[in-house]
């Protein structure tokens, strides 16, 4: 749940990047951190293992300016992608307002994407949230790999696997080069802010 301070006119919004291990959640945040330096006043926080895998979460606070006189503070989080860390994934999802599901477009990752999305559904249910109601954006990451001869799933297949029932906005992206990272972020911020406005009215 977003937190709204009526006196200081501040709205805190929590957006979580979710997805299977090594799909590029942290890379998304790292790109945003580099690209939008002037809107980010503090350091990105990363809790990771020695092997550079996310252990708990990454955290990036992001200033978005004002809407109707309210300061919007976006808090970006990632979850650890590794299968064994579901307990921590669940903790990070607490109070979430919007989710970016980062899918790995590599052919061999097909099943992992589906499994991860199913688990997201279950994890949200444990907080009495519904994957069908929460603002959600799909990002099909690593699309650049097809230029390097690595088999990548066609968008139609990814859509069929992950988005046929959800019908949420989706983007092809390459987090490493930054392609559509900002577009994904913009989309999830606008969907989330609209949903918060609706809840308040």
């Amino acid at each position: 749940m977003s937190f709204i301070n009526l006196r200081d006119k501040v709205v805190q919004v929590k957006i979580v990047y979710y997805g299977p291990g090594r799909c590029g959640k942290t890379t998304n945040l790292e790109y945003i951190n580099r690209k939008f330096k002037e809107q980010i006043q503090s350091e990105m926080v990363s809790l990771k293992t020695h092997g550079d895998r996310t252990l708990f979460f990454d955290f990036l606070p992001f200033h978005m300016g004002q809407i109707k006189g309210y300061d919007i503070k976006i808090q970006l989080y990632t979850v650890p992608g590794q299968v064994k860390y579901n307990a921590t994934r669940k903790l990070v999802l607490k109070g979430v307002d919007g989710i970016v599901f980062v899918a790995d477009a590599m052919e061999k990752q097909r099943e992992k994407n589906i499994r991860s999305l199913n688990q997201l559904h279950e994890n949200l249910q444990s907080y009495k949230e519904s994957i069908f109601k929460i603002p959600l954006v799909m990002q099909y990451n690593k699309i650049d790999l097809k230029d390097h001869g690595i088999p990548v799933l066609p968008i139609a297949v990814l859509q069929q696997d992950l988005n046929s029932r959800l019908q949420v906005p989706y983007f092809e992206a390459s987090a490493i080069t930054g392609y559509n990272v900002a577009a994904t972020l913009k989309k999830i911020i606008s969907s989330t802010v609209v949903s918060i406005q609706k809840k308040l009215l």
Binding site: S2, N5, Q12, E43, V45, F57, P61, A87, L91, K94
Partner: protein
């Protein structure tokens, strides 16, 4: 409970409690956050320059982790945490299921005295919070 939106009057009452019970005592900074890592309010001496947004996110994660550990050893919760440093100490205490009070203080306050005041502050904050029920 009016969770999610806090009104001006509540906020001012809570800040006054933090000021009277903790800042006057010599605490550097008192923060109330929710378990999702959002900041509800901050009261400090004006001298501290902490990155409180990152701090809140980490503190909520830290508390959630310890909570999970408590369950593993058969406790329902560990309601308070204390981290001791050379010059700065941090004390975490649960206000209710959703809220956490964090106090940062230096070497010149004894932990026992701080804990007494934290208990009293929490008691008063709970009353202010419950008024909206």
């Amino acid at each position: 409970m009016n969770y999610g939106i806090v009104n001006q009057e509540q906020l001012e009452q809570i800040e006054e409690i933090l000021f009277q019970k903790l800042i006057k005592l010599g605490v550097d900074c008192a923060i109330i956050i929710d378990m999702a890592g959002n900041i509800i309010t901050v009261k400090d001496t004006g001298k501290s320059k902490y990155d409180i947004y990152s701090f809140a996110a980490l503190a909520a994660g830290n508390f959630a982790t310890v909570d999970a550990m408590a369950k593993l050893v058969g406790e329902t919760e560990f309601s308070l945490l204390f981290h001791k440093g050379q010059d700065c100490n941090i004390h975490f205490s649960k206000i209710d299921d959703e809220l956490l009070l964090i106090t940062m203080f230096g070497r010149d306050i004894s932990l026992g005295f701080l804990r007494l005041n934290v208990v009293e502050a929490i008691d008063q904050i709970q009353k202010v919070w419950a008024k909206e029920d």
